[in-house]
């Protein structure tokens, strides 16, 4: 398919040629992502108000149903729709190129949307109270698994469109030399996505067949292993995409230039090579695998992926520091930090995301993933504490920060309510810090995750966790409400910008 000249506009800010069909796909995927974030956020509010023992909002059935929906709407739909927008942006826009096969892009959107809708409806109908992990032998209606599969096929199509666009750009020489770092990082995410989704297919197709009555059930432990080969590795899509967005935000907010591209890119390659291998840390206290296997899997290779994160953790702030010093903020060790654009929501989002991801998410991930510590962390509230620091503080907040540039650059609208936008990353990010930490503390006392009532209200052997845990969960509840307000402000700003935002010159 040939692209015609009318399909392009030239961006006034960057001088890049922007392909119309690519732009429409970016917009559609991003808006859909935000709708799912809104749904997941409202659901998250009901969850946190239920686990706040004194409030205990939902009944048991709806708590588990909403928990399933929250996992799917957030971890699956919000993240992956937004990542599709990022893939199209990093390929077509940054490479100054047309999008390869826009029809396939629309196919991606359609499949993912239909898949996510089926899954959400099945959950709401009460046909799939199995959590997003859907461990067998717990069984959902077969349509649920089918929805997941359709969604995954859509995501695969999106990755292929991305790679196709890279090929087109190379062939049509829309850029010279090597592709930009952000595109490289997005490519790392897309490669990880491809092999992850294959794992997903191996897990979900036989499970669907079983639920539909066509095949026997997969071994329960084998399911866990295959599921986490998919479920854990796919988190690395989120990490790679987030790091690519960090570099992008550094450049957009202060003009940061990566200190050494060789190092940054090598680190992305380490992600591709080593992350899937750590997925057995989900199985450390399971029967089924030998201890040598688990130690090898979760020890040696995993740390090469950790090394990659350590490299980015230096490289991103260093690039920001250098850029700010070039602006003349050279007094003392920290003038650059003081004079950084803290009022720019994209910058504060970058900073809060980076620090939270590293110190709360990364460190707890490495620690809880060790054999010995996992015994006391497995399936306790420590685990949601860990991943609300990674995928929420880290990835979600980075994506939110990016939105403050996507709105003017792609949607051509000035961000509505700029004063609210200024505080949004602080409100959302910092309250989420508190939610994560209080979850971890509760987990330390042995409070388990995914539990409607930790005391076992109808059991003859009730547990009394005591006032410290109650107080802690109350703090989690309050911080959770604040985080939801922060999330809601983000959604309101995005929607208001689209509806009433002042138009920017194209």
């Amino acid at each position: 398919m040939e692209a015609t000249a009318e399909q392009f506009r030239t961006c006034a800010t960057t001088g890049l040629k922007v392909h119309g069909p690519a732009e429409n796909l970016i917009k559609t995927n991003a808006v859909t992502a935000i709708v799912f974030l809104l749904v997941g956020g409202i659901v998250g509010l009901t969850l946190v108000l239920t686990r706040w023992q004194a409030v205990h909002l939902l009944d048991d059935e709806w708590f588990y149903r909403m928990l399933s929906l929250h996992g799917i709407a957030m971890l699956v739909a919000w993240m992956i729709f937004f990542e599709m927008a990022i893939l199209y942006f990093a390929s077509a826009v940054l490479l100054n190129c047309r999008l390869a096969t826009p029809w396939a892009g629309w196919l991606q959107f359609l499949l993912m949307f239909v898949g996510a809708a089926i899954v959400a409806v099945e959950i709401l109908l009460g046909n799939a109270d199995v959590m997003f992990t859907s461990y067998v032998p717990l069984k959902a209606d077969h349509m649920y698994y089918l929805g997941v599969i359709i969604f995954a096929v859509g995501a695969i199509v999106g990755c292929l469109v991305f790679f196709g666009t890279l090929v087109v750009a190379k062939k049509e020489k829309t850029y010279s030399g090597s592709m930009p770092l952000v595109t490289f990082g997005a490519a790392a995410a897309a490669i990880i996505a491809l092999f992850t989704l294959v794992h997903g297919a191996i897990t979900f197709i036989p499970t669907w067949a079983w639920a539909a009555g066509l095949a026997p059930m997969m071994d329960a432990e084998l399911y866990r292993m295959l599921f986490w080969g998919f479920g854990h590795s796919s988190q690395q899509i989120n990490v790679a995409a987030m790091v690519a967005v960090w570099y992008l935000l550094g450049t957009l907010t202060v003009g940061a230039i990566p200190i050494n591209e060789k190092v940054c890119r090598t680190a992305f390659v380490l992600y591709i090579l080593f992350i899937n291998i750590a997925s057995e840390h989900h199985l450390l206290v399971d029967p089924g695998l030998g201890i040598e296997h688990k130690i090898w899997n979760t020890g040696y290779f995993m740390h090469l992926a950790v090394l990659a994160s350590m490299i980015h953790a230096f490289s991103v702030p260093a690039a920001v520091e250098v850029a700010l010093r070039k602006k003349g903020f050279t007094r003392g060790a920290f003038e650059w930090l003081k004079k950084a654009p803290w009022g720019n929501p994209a910058f504060s989002a970058l900073a809060i995301s980076l620090v939270g991801f590293g110190f709360l998410g990364g460190i707890t991930g490495v620690v809880y993933g060790t054999e010995q510590v996992n015994i006391i962390a497995h399936n306790t509230m420590r685990i949601p504490g860990h991943f609300h620091a990674t995928v929420v503080v880290g990835t979600t907040l980075a994506f939110m920060g990016l939105t403050y540039y996507v709105l003017p650059l792609i949607f051509l609208r000035e961000v509505a309510f700029p004063k609210l936008a200024k505080i949004q990353p602080y409100l959302f990010g910092l309250s989420m810090y508190v939610v994560s930490i209080t979850m971890m503390i509760a987990g330390g006392f042995g409070v388990s995750r995914r539990s409607w009532d930790m005391s076992g209200i109808e059991s003859p052997f009730q547990v009394n966790f005591g006032p410290v845990v109650d107080l802690n969960l109350a703090i989690m509840g309050i911080a959770g409400v604040l985080a939801c307000i922060g999330g809601a402000i983000y959604c309101v700003i995005a929607v208001a910008t689209l509806l009433i935002g002042k138009k920017v010159e194209a």
Binding site: L181, I259, V263, D286, G299, V306, A318, E371, P460, V463
Partner: protein
């Protein structure tokens, strides 16, 4: 800039000294972290078990019933209370939504605890010492345990196992 393509030669840019130091420190730290887990596995006493056998859920169900019949000393509500001799093979059966039986153990004696489920996944979480193991149907997970303090311990199910998951509590009494 991270959004601009790179011209040939970028690979040859030398790595700055500070960044080299950081990477070296990070690498050493990673190597240490890599070593510490297997090392602890050898010198530490806090490791997950690696002993397990395949077993059909029906068979595990039967073995647990036999175990209960053999050592039953009483009942607590709907639950059998079982007091096995020191060193015995003891069974803990997860099912929707209870842990059977209630176990009475002696402090400082060692037992081989067989953990499994006869329906969906369950999670054995011993409260308040917070030790967590997965109960998987089809697998007999053998944990060698030596209670070192007396008292009553709850077994909280911490793997979602259906609508009454939060009510799935068991009990171990150590005397």
């Amino acid at each position: 800039m991270s959004v601009q393509s790179l011209q040939p030669g970028w690979w040859k840019t030398p790595v700055h000294k500070e960044e080299r130091i950081w990477i070296t420190v990070a690498l050493i730290w990673c190597i240490l972290m890599t070593l510490i887990m297997p090392l602890w596995h050898v010198v530490g006493e806090h490791n997950p078990s690696a002993e397990y056998y395949r077993i059909a859920p029906e068979d595990f169900d039967k073995l647990t019933d036999e175990f209960i019949d053999k050592y039953k000393v009483g009942v607590e509500g709907d639950f059998a209370v079982v007091e096995p001799p020191a060193g015995a093979d003891i069974f803990l059966r997860g099912s929707q939504w209870q842990w059977d039986p209630v176990l009475k153990l002696k402090v400082n004696e060692t037992y081989r605890l067989h953990l499994s489920s006869i329906d969906v996944l369950h999670g054995m979480s011993i409260y308040p010492i917070n030790l967590n193991f997965e109960a998987v149907p089809g697998y007999d997970y053998v944990l060698t345990i030596t209670p070192t303090s007396t008292g009553t311990f709850n077994i909280i199910c911490n793997e979602f196992c259906g609508i009454s998951h939060h009510n799935m509590m068991g009990k171990i009494i150590v005397q």
